[in-house]
Amino acid sequence: MSGTQVFAQTVLNGLLMGCIIALVAIGIALIRGVMDMVNFAQGEFLMLGMYCAFWVNRLTGLDPLLTAPIAGAVLFVLGAVMYKTLVRRVVGAPMLAQVLLTFGFSIVLVNTALFLWGAEFRTIPETWIRGNVDIGGVVIGVTTLVPAVVSVIMAAGVYWFMVKTRMGRALQATAMNKHAAALVGIDTERVYALAFGLASACAGVAGSVLALSYYVFPMVGTVFNLFAFVAVALGGFGSIPGAFIGGLIIGVADSVTGFYVSTAFKYVVAFGIYLATVIWRPKGLFGW
């Protein structure tokens, strides 16, 4: 492999990985932007999305890629229900109450998964999504390419929804000022439920495509959650494009440092970038 090929491979690996982190991060940014609260259970929604893909595939034999919409829909409902039953009680409450609620809920989800499905690592067997693509010596596994593409589509979809549709504008309006939005006739309760559902659906879709290449187990959410949070903080809390780009930066920093410097330092650089952002631009790259 030539130097350029290796560099291209390294950056590409980073981007592909970053896409998944980005999609999880978008969910966190959305909730933070609209409701001004941090959802610590986002990683666990990713885990549920992965189990959703796993079980639908196991029980029906449906291709994991086709389970993405199902996982998205299931998680949307779950997110909306979670809002209606639990989260709405802490909207506007002290931050500690919000943190305890979502953090507590994440513990409940992990242990429920542990109880229902056990602690084993599970993977989805290869279906028609398999093999490698070789572009001039740069090798990409299809099982990482497809999730990245799906992530980009989903992220673009969420962005389009936010900017172009009436409901999306209602969401933005509520994010800016809840009372003013209510005054002009926006049903803010519905908007909040929608935001929560949408954020969970992002994690669900990310999870179901991630299950193509990654193993599933009840604690998988925590592994990705940390990176997603860093991506959100990097991009700017509340900014959807920011969260996406933040995810990509984390992915590329991880990959490039790992290859060119040392694998032992790859997270040092990723988190170092985050730290530098917090110090010099606390609102994040795209924050407002």
């Binding site: 690996n13 084993e120 599970r122 990654y214 193993y215 790992g258 694998t263 032992a264």
Partner: protein, 424 residues
């Protein structure tokens, strides 16, 4: 005067009787011997922890019940020297974390008051949990953790029945050497890949030293984060270095990730030799399927050892009936450790910690009564490390590990170099 004498004459037998009754539970019969076992029951290694507990339960079943089995303590009920006292396994959850492991050890010691503690799979957890045991003067028998540092601390109450990483790494290099002699293989360069906790860090140090003394060139040395989200850059580095053999120390999740990434990046290392842990977890086969084929690992046990010794096969069948899975090196080691402890308690004839400690020091357990291929169990008087343990090298073919070294125990020939991904 006379009355008080009479009173005394009545009182004495009564007192004697009362004290006699009290003395029985103090001096004589122990009903149950509690053994605290600390393993990861939640967290990324939870499935492994669960299977460990099953291995301990099986050992307890054999000791507690009368079984038609040609094995120590099988034909009697309970521990003979304690009047048939039952073994009770008390599991505790370390979550794979050194801090939690230590807290759980303290909790067990203060509330359950176990006769001994055992555990903890992760070397880093064993390290802290045994610190607690040392402080409280509780016997800690570690059957599984392999970090050499554990027995180099000179602890009074810590014993280890399993071999250490140093033994396994020596086995690894002996295996490569033997294979080179037998087949004229060319193996000159190695890559050392290790995770970043106690387990991996120690292994990479020993591997690097041994590679140097035996004349191998280390072309890549990688430390990666335990429970990684991806190992893309790690694999890319290996691909570039192109070593003749990769020596890897990883727990289950990362082992799965590495093999999948090798395949994704179309990279077939000529041979990957793992240091147990993730490599010997049964989930390797359930998650990776055929892709797990041709992985080598140092090991403590393999099902094919049963082809030569019926009792090994029989114990594996009992374990299979309990869990639906074969034993692995981890669980066979834990099972063995439990019997070493029971043997010591039986010889001590009491649950007094000091007596058990002395009995453990005097242990001379024959290899013929073990299900693992060791020469026996005898503890070094200073370090308390079993000096008679040894390892085997196994290779995965068709979803099971088969012994390939030492050659006299081997049931198949090693496949090296392994076939490329697209030729399988």
């Amino acid at each position: 005067m006379k009355r008080s004498l009479v009173r005394l004459a009545i009182m004495l037998p009564v007192l004697a009787l009362v004290f006699g009754l009290l003395a029985v539970p103090i001096l004589g019969k122990v009903d149950t011997v509690k053994v605290g076992v600390i393993y990861p029951l939640t967290g990324s290694a939870a499935a492994t922890g669960k299977d460990y507990i099953a291995a301990y339960q099986l050992a307890a079943d054999i000791v507690n019940n009368k079984m038609d089995l040609d094995f120590p303590f099988a034909r009697t009920e309970g521990i003979p020297a304690l009047g048939g006292a039952m073994i009770e396994i008390v599991p505790a959850d370390s979550q794979g974390s050194p801090e939690v492991g230590r807290a759980e050890a303290e909790r067990l010691i203060s509330s359950v008051k176990p006769t001994a503690l055992m555990g903890c799979h992760h070397s880093a957890v064993t390290k802290t949990a045994s610190q607690a045991a040392e402080r409280f003067g509780t016997v800690f028998l570690c059957p599984d953790s392999t970090s050499p540092a554990l027995t180099e601390r000179g602890y009074e109450w810590f014993f280890r029945s399993g071999p250490t990483d140093t033994t396994f790494i020596e086995d690894t290099f002996d295996f490569i050497e033997d294979l080179k002699k037998a087949r004229g293989l060319k193996v000159e360069t190695v890559a050392i890949v290790s995770e970043d906790t106690e387990f991996g860090k120690n292994i990479s140090v020993v591997e690097e030293q041994m590679a140097a003394t035996r004349g191998y060139r280390v072309v890549e040395k990688i430390t990666f984060q335990n429970n990684s989200t991806n190992v893309n850059s790690e694999v890319l580095r290996l691909k570039r270095a192109n070593p003749d053999v990769i020596l890897m120390a990883a727990y289950t999740s990362d082992t799965i990730l590495f093999v999948r990434t090798f395949k994704e990046q179309k990279y077939t290392p000529p041979a990957v030799i793992g240091q147990r842990a993730g490599f010997i977890s049964p989930e390797i086969f359930t998650t990776l399927g055929k892709d797990a084929d041709y992985l080598f690992t140092t090991n403590v046990w393999a099902p094919d050892l049963g082809e030569k010794r019926p009792i090994v096969k029989r114990i594996n069948e009992l374990y299979r009936a309990k869990t639906g899975k074969d034993l692995t090196g981890d669980y066979a080691r834990a099972f063995t450790g439990a019997f070493i402890l029971v043997d010591a308690i039986n010889r001590a004839g009491s649950v007094n910690p000091e007596a058990i400690r002395k009995a453990l020091l005097a242990t001379d357990y024959p290899g013929s009564q073990l299900i693992v291929p060791w020469a026996g169990v005898r503890f070094d008087q200073k370090t308390h490390q079993n000096t008679l343990g040894r390892g085997i090298i196994t290779q995965a073919i068709g979803g099971v590990y088969r012994t390939v070294w030492p050659f006299d125990l081997a049931s198949q020939e090693a496949v090296w170099p392994v076939p490329a991904w697209d030729k399988r």
